[in-house]
Amino acid sequence: MQKQFTRKFLNNKGIAYLIAVIFLIVAMLMGISIGTVSVPALDIIKIIGSEVFRLSLSGDVDPMHINIVMNIRLPRVILAGLVGASLAIAGAAFQGLLRNPLADPYTLGVSSGASVGAVLTLFFGISIPFAGAFTLPLLSILFAFITIFIVLIFARQIDRSMKVETIILTGIIFSSFLGAFISLMIALTGDELRQIIGWLLGSVSMRGWEYIKIIFPFFIIGSMILLANSRELNAMSFGEERAQHIGVNVQKRKMTVLFAGSILTGAAVAVSGTIGFAGLVIPHLTRLLWGPDHRHLLPLSILTGSGFLILADLVARTIISPTELPIGVITALIGAPVFAMILMKRRVERRG
């Protein structure tokens, strides 16, 4: 009986991973294939096979296609995937830590904090010695970390029990405040205007391989830290006191998770600007489909989050082609209604 169950359990999770991986691959192929110039899926596989894995398959592929895939679409899709994965796993971790399905880097104000860091860097042309291209993500991460701290301290001051709505409200207040701050800087700037507006609305276009190099190490570090804390996140989603009773060093683990979440958010914002709601919708849907156990929720969120953002980016650049919409518009169009739905469901549950 027990063994049977375990096998079924593993199978279920196995199927979950299989579905998530297929979703990601399909999203990637669609993202690379669809556009003003359509590249057949088989060609894409051949191109990637020969260019990335050095297999000799590309004999009969159009060189223009190779150029489009390798220099434009593939880096764009990978960047979108990495940003989506970072936001989704950070959102899942924040939600578990705060026992709050409405938490995500955007609603908590972390994204806005990271934007302030990024905009300041661009505005003043700051460059940290030896950090080079990493100045931008490092400052974004720093500001993201500071922001989440201030938000949580502030929420605790308002309401000791740190109710879900209090934290979200505080996060939104901070978002507005920081947004106004960014607007002020935009008003004061002249030439950099276009670049800064890009940050505000969020975009993964025309970034190239350079930006992938910037986000990749932070994505790996942040994700590894969170994955290593998935059991602690399970415990903490039962409340901090209970987690402490079970044996979790709550203070240390909480800081670790917040830090890792800030790394992921800061790095994502640094390369793509503020993309809202991806960190809210993806963990929520993943949890609905496959359960709240963070040992699976986190890796599955990485897979579905990257697939989701690749598709969102695809929609953003094709829906009113040739004009490109900022990707944040698409995620907000999907995310805001989902946010409202979760909020309403929670209200009904509490009343019932």
């Binding site: 879900v164 399970n234 415990a235 989603s237 039962f238 006191e241 044996g247 979790v248 060093n249 359960g291």
Partner: protein, 490 residues
């Protein structure tokens, strides 16, 4: 296990616990009591290491509790708190499995066969195994409480801290949980420290009770010492009455409702007007329930009853289950069996003797039916064979007064002595031994009182109540026996 030394503490600048010291031994079931706001939960949180002490210290197994790491502590102490937050729908098994956190080693924290075995065992013990795949958000409060108990037990703790564990549980699970805890303290050396709201549950199960009041120790002793009427009345500011548990040696406290006090104003009187006679039975119906001590067929022992029935049965009445038959009989005649004391007699009911006596501040009604065909000398009763011959003296004593437990017992003694004296004066003989009889082999007695009006502490033979009972029972018994004899002669 624990040694608490001059402990003080609370939340941000507001001390809740003031300078308290006590010890808890291994294997104890230790109860913490106290009114709301007395600091019970804070003390428990300090014992679990969540709330730090502002002064003094807690020694756990000889080491300051502060010196333990979170995982180390979780292997010794498990906590079941009153509230649990649920935001995500984990399954029952996932929830219970988290209890193994502190025992799992290494980076990958592998799930061992031992872990699986322990989780299965504690799920069985707490009765949650059959819904292990359900989501905890779907469960009722009581079921969820049991899931979290299983989680705490999965920690394999040496000490279990509980904050009102029976809060959401229905009666059977309250008992089951406490029985389980008691068993674990006795047989596995588990130390259980629990906050109780229910003083009676605490008195029933705990080895030791700590009564807190305003963050200080009011009393730390065995339950019988802690649960004293006056102490509980002062600490909880409410009227209670202490009584022994009917089955086990544990103190029980009962509340005295305000309603009960109001009734005292108009003192009800039980008198001859409450009696009803017919060929089949004599009944007394009281306006209010009377506290009764009796040896009837139905409603025997101590209790509150409103109707009293002495039923005539044929000399050859023989029934395998006379109790059940009597209940059916009472129902048939419109008496509620749970509120009725029922007796039987083969004596003709016209021969009843009853008298109403009034004394200074209280009054009483005495009703006797007597047949002496079966008279026995109690001092020589071993000479009697087992066979029972009809003939019974049923004595009813109703008192309009407030009797103590002693007074009830002394009333029975005094009534019995008066009955024996009546037998002696009428020279009623035990037909087997040819000596003077003291009663019959199937006599029944009932003492019932309104428990209102004058307080009657004693009923020994020369107390006012004793005098009334002695005189009354003697007179009525003599008269009843005379009537019965007369009928026989005719």
């Amino acid at each position: 296990m624990y040694s608490i030394q001059q402990l003080a503490g609370g939340y941000a600048g507001k001390p809740v616990i003031h300078n308290i010291s006590f010890d808890i031994d291994k294997g104890q079931l230790f109860g913490i009591l106290g009114p709301n706001g007395s600091g019970k939960t804070t003390l428990l949180k300090m014992l679990s290491g969540i709330v730090p002490a502002s002064s003094g210290q807690i020694l756990l197994k000889g080491k300051p509790i502060k010196s333990y790491g979170a995982k180390e502590l979780a292997k010794i102490i498990a906590v079941l708190s009153q509230h649990s937050e649920q935001s995500f729908s984990y399954t029952v098994k996932e929830t219970v499995s988290l209890g193994r956190y502190a025992h799992q080693k290494g980076w990958f924290q592998n799930w061992t066969d031992e872990d699986e075995e322990i989780v299965q065992r504690v799920m069985e013990q707490t009765g949650v195994a059959h819904f292990e795949h359900h989501h905890i958000t779907e469960l009722s409060g009581g079921e969820r409480q049991r899931v979290f108990l299983a989680q705490a037990l999965a920690q394999e703790p040496e000490i279990l801290l509980l904050d009102e564990p029976t809060n959401h549980l229905d009666l059977s699970y309250q008992k089951e949980l406490l029985d389980l805890l008691l068993d674990w303290t006795e047989n596995r050396g588990l130390t259980v420290i629990s906050i109780f709201h229910d003083l009676n549950l605490a008195g029933l199960y705990c080895d030791q009770l700590l009564l807190l009041n305003n963050g200080k120790i009011e009393k730390n002793d065995i339950p019988n010492e802690v649960l004293q009427e006056e102490r509980v009345q002062t600490v909880y500011q409410t009227d209670v009455k202490k009584q022994p548990h009917p089955k086990v040696p544990a103190p029980q406290l009962v509340l005295l409702p305000e309603k009960g006090k109001e009734r005292r104003k108009g003192i009800p009187v039980v008198g001859p007007s409450n009696l009803h006679f017919n060929m089949e039975y004599i009944a007394l119906k009281s306006d209010v329930p009377l506290r009764s001590m009796s040896s009837g067929v139905v409603g025997s022992g101590t209790g509150w009853y409103q109707s009293f029935v002495n039923r005539h049965v044929n000399k050859n009445y023989n029934c395998d289950n006379h109790r059940e038959e009597m209940v059916a009989y009472l129902k048939k005649h419109g008496f509620e069996p749970s509120e009725t004391v029922g007796m039987m007699t083969a004596v003709y009911l016209e021969d009843v003797s009853f008298r109403f006596y009034e004394a200074d501040g209280f009054s009483g009604l005495i009703v006797v039916t007597a047949g002496v065909g079966n008279a026995v000398d109690a001092s020589l009763s071993p000479l009697h064979a087992g066979s029972i011959v009809p003939g019974t003296i049923n004595t009813w004593i109703f008192i309009n007064g407030d009797l103590t437990e002693e007074a009830y017992i002394q009333s029975i003694m005094t009534a019995t002595e008066a009955k024996a004296k009546a037998m002696m004066d009428l020279e009623i003989k035990d037909q087997v031994t040819e000596t003077i009889a003291t009663g019959t082999s199937t006599d029944s007695i009932l003492i019932a009182a309104t428990q209102k009006g004058m307080r009657l502490d004693f009923a020994g033979t020369i107390t006012p109540l004793g005098k009334m009972i002695g005189k009354g029972v003697y007179e009525c018994t003599v008269e009843a026996i005379h009537k019965s004899r007369k009928r026989k002669k005719n």
